[in-house]
Symmetry: C2
Subunit: 347 residues, 2 copies
C-alpha cells in the first residue's frame, strides 16, 4: 500500500486511538509492524480472513484459543509475545493436532510504547518461526488509557489432527502411567519473582516453549498414548484432577518422583506456594498404558524439552476420583483442585 | 464434573480472580455458564482444543479473528456477545468461507456482575445458533479491577472455503460494479447515541447481523463475484480505498445512490460525523463484473438482509487509486481514508 508511506515512529511513538480506528493509522501499524515481522502470503493478502489449503489427507482439524494477560509483559525466559505463541501451539499439540496456523489479535492501551509493541511482535514472530507455524490473520483494537493493561493478546491455533491418534483423558484406565516431561513451577515462579522483586530472581526462568516437536516425538513412539495435557494455570494438580474426573478413576503420585528445581522449591516456600499448583508453559503431562511407559519416557528423554521427564505415578481404581500423593516423608495427602486464586495473570 | 456442584450465584455474584485461576471456581464458571449455554459435543469434551471433522470435499479453510471491546456492552440491536459472533462469522463469510466453528475467549474484569456475563453468553449462544455455527473451544482470563473494561471477547472463526470461489479485491477491474447490501452507519450511530445519550437514540438500532446466509445467496447467484467485504471500522470509505489500492484502479460512487437512514443522517450531522466513515456490522460491499450486477442485486434484494441493496458506483482506470464521489448536489469530492480516530471502541 504505497499511500501509507509515512513511517511509524517505532522508537519514541505511542499507540493512539487512531491505530484501532480502521483508517490510515491502522493500515500503517499493520503494514510497518505486523506485516513486516509476521510476513507470509496469507497476511500479505490483507483480506478479512485467511484462506488456507489443507494437506490432502486432512480429515480432522484441531482448534484452540487463549487470551494472554500476563503481568509483567516481559519476564526472564520470555514475554507476552512468545508466551502467546507457545500457549496456543501447545494447546493444539496436546489435543492431537499438528499446529500450522495462528491468528493473533491485540488489545492495546492508548499510550503503550510502540517500541515495546515491536519487541513483543518480534518475539512472536521468532516463536512462530521456531514452532513452524504461520500467523495468518489478525486484528488490532485500541482502548482508552486505563481500560486495559498495556497489551492483551489472543492467539487461536488451527492444526491438522495426527491420523490414527485419539487423545482423550476419558480413555485413561486404572494402572496407566502418569509421566511429566520435566521440572514443574518454573514459569509461575519466574513471573512471581519479577512481581515481588525477589532477590533470587536471576535464577528463575520461565520454561515457556513450543511443545509440538516433543508431542510429535511421543506420538511417533507411542501412537496409543491415552492423553496429553500442558499443566498451565492450576498446575499439575489441575491436570491430575481433570484426568481423574474424566476417566472416573483415582490417581496416585509420589512427591519424590516429581521434578522441581531447588530454586523453585525455595521461592515457593518463601511465598507460601505449592509447586503442584504453579503454572508451567513448556511442560506436558502424559498418561499411557503401563507397558508403553518406557517408550514414552525414552522419547521424552531424547528430546531437549523432555530431558528431565519422570514417571510420577499411576491411575488407580477409585470411584471418588481422588488424586493422592505419597509425600517425601512417607505420608499421604490429597491433591485437590486449587480453590480460589493462587497466581493471577500468570499467562 | 460432579465435584463442581456448588452453584454459581448468577443473580448477585461477581467475577473474582479465582474464576480465571485454573481451579475449582474456573471449572464451575465453565460448566455452569459457558458449557450450559454453548452446549455441543466439542465443548463438552473439555479438552484444551477441539477436534473437528472436515466435510469430505474440504480443500481449503478460511480463518478470521476479532477482539471485541465495544462500549457500552449493551446497545439497541445487540450487545458485545451477539456482535462478537456476527463480526467473526462475517469476516469468514466475506473471505469466501462457510463459517462452521468459533472459538470464544473472554477477558473479564474482577467485579463484573455474573448476571451481565450470563446475558452476554446467552446472546452469543443465540447468535451462534441463528448463524449455524458452534462455539467449540474457549478460554477465560480474569484481570484485576481497573485493568480492563468489564469484558472483552475474542472470537476466531473457521469455515470451509466455498469450492470454485475466489474472492480477492486484487481481481477488481475498471468497469466493475460496486454494490452495498443496505443502509450505512446504523451500527456506529446506535453506539454513539448510547454514549452521548442523544434524545433520538430510540430510533437508532445497530444492524448487527450474521451475513453468511446473504453471502451464500450471492455466491449461488454469481460465483464469479470479485470481492466482498464488510464495512466495519472505517466504514464504506475504508473498504472502497482498500478495493482501489488492491486493484490498482480508482472508484467512482454517487452519493445519491448510497442508502442512509434519515435518522442516521440527522445524528451524523448533529455529531459532525460522516456516514461513509461510520461502522456497520450487518452490511457488505460487493464488487462484480458489470454484467453480473443485476443478478447480484436480485440475490441481495431477495434476502431479508439485502432489501435496501444499491449499486453505488464503478471502478475506473486511475493509477492514483483515488476514490471519488459525485455529491448529491452534483459536485465531486475525494473519499480518503479516515485519518485519526473517529469512533473508538465501536466494535
Amino acid at each position: 500500500m504505497a499511500t501509507h508511506s509515512r513511517a511509524l515512529d517505532l522508537r519514541h511513538g505511542r499507540v493512539d486511538l487512531g491505530h484501532g480506528a480502521g483508517g490510515r493509522s491502522m493500515a500503517q501499524l499493520i503494514e510497518q509492524l505486523f506485516l513486516r515481522h509476521f510476513d507470509n502470503p496469507w497476511l500479505r493478502a490483507q483480506n478479512d480472513g485467511a484462506c488456507l489449503s489443507l494437506p490432502p489427507d486432512a480429515g480432522r482439524i484441531v482448534m484452540a484459543t487463549d487470551c494472554h494477560v500476563v503481568s509483567p509483559l516481559f519476564f526472564p525466559g520470555g514475554d507476552i509475545g512468545s508466551l502467546a505463541v507457545h500457549g496456543t501451539v501447545n494447546d493444539v499439540a496436546v489435543a492431537g493436532g499438528r499446529p500450522l496456523w495462528l491468528s493473533a489479535a491485540f488489545i492495546l492501551e492508548e499510550g503503550f510504547p510502540l517500541a515495546d509493541l515491536e519487541r513483543i511482535v518480534v518475539s512472536m514472530a521468532e516463536a512462530a518461526r521456531a514452532a513452524g507455524v504461520a500467523i495468518v490473520t489478525g486484528d488490532t483494537k485500541v482502548v482508552e488509557r486505563g481500560k486495559c493493561d498495556g497489551v492483551f493478546i489472543n492467539t487461536t491455533g488451527v492444526g491438522v489432527a495426527v491420523p490414527g491418534v485419539t487423545l482423550d483423558p476419558a480413555n485413561i484406565r486404572p494402572g496407566d502411567a502418569i509421566i511429566v516431561s520435566g521440572t514443574l513451577g518454573d514459569h509461575g515462579m519466574a513471573i512471581m519473582s519479577q512481581r515481588e522483586s525477589l532477590s533470587f530472581e536471576s535464577e528463575l526462568r520461565s520454561d515457556s516453549a513450543a511443545l509440538n516437536g516433543l508431542v510429535d516425538a511421543i506420538l511417533a513412539a507411542v501412537p496409543g498414548v491415552r492423553a496429553l495435557r500442558d499443566p498451565t494455570r492450576g498446575g499439575l494438580a489441575a491436570v491430575l484432577n481433570e484426568f481423574a474426573q474424566a476417566a472416573g478413576c483415582g490417581i496416585h503420585v509420589r512427591e519424590s518422583a516429581i521434578p522441581v528445581r531447588p530454586e523453585v522449591t525455595a521461592s515457593c516456600e518463601l511465598l507460601g506456594l505449592d509447586p503442584l499448583y504453579v503454572a508451567n508453559e513448556g511442560k506436558l503431562v502424559a498418561a499411557c498404558a503401563p507397558e508403553d511407559a518406557p517408550r514414552v519416557l525414552d522419547a521424552m528423554h531424547a528430546h531437549p524439552l523432555g530431558r528431565d521427564a519422570s514417571l510420577i505415578g499411576y491411575a488407580q481404581i477409585d470411584e471418588r476420583c481422588f488424586v493422592q500423593m505419597e509425600t517425601a516423608f512417607g505420608g499421604r495427602r490429597m491433591v485437590d483442585w486449587l480453590t480460589g486464586e493462587q497466581l493471577p495473570r500468570i499467562c
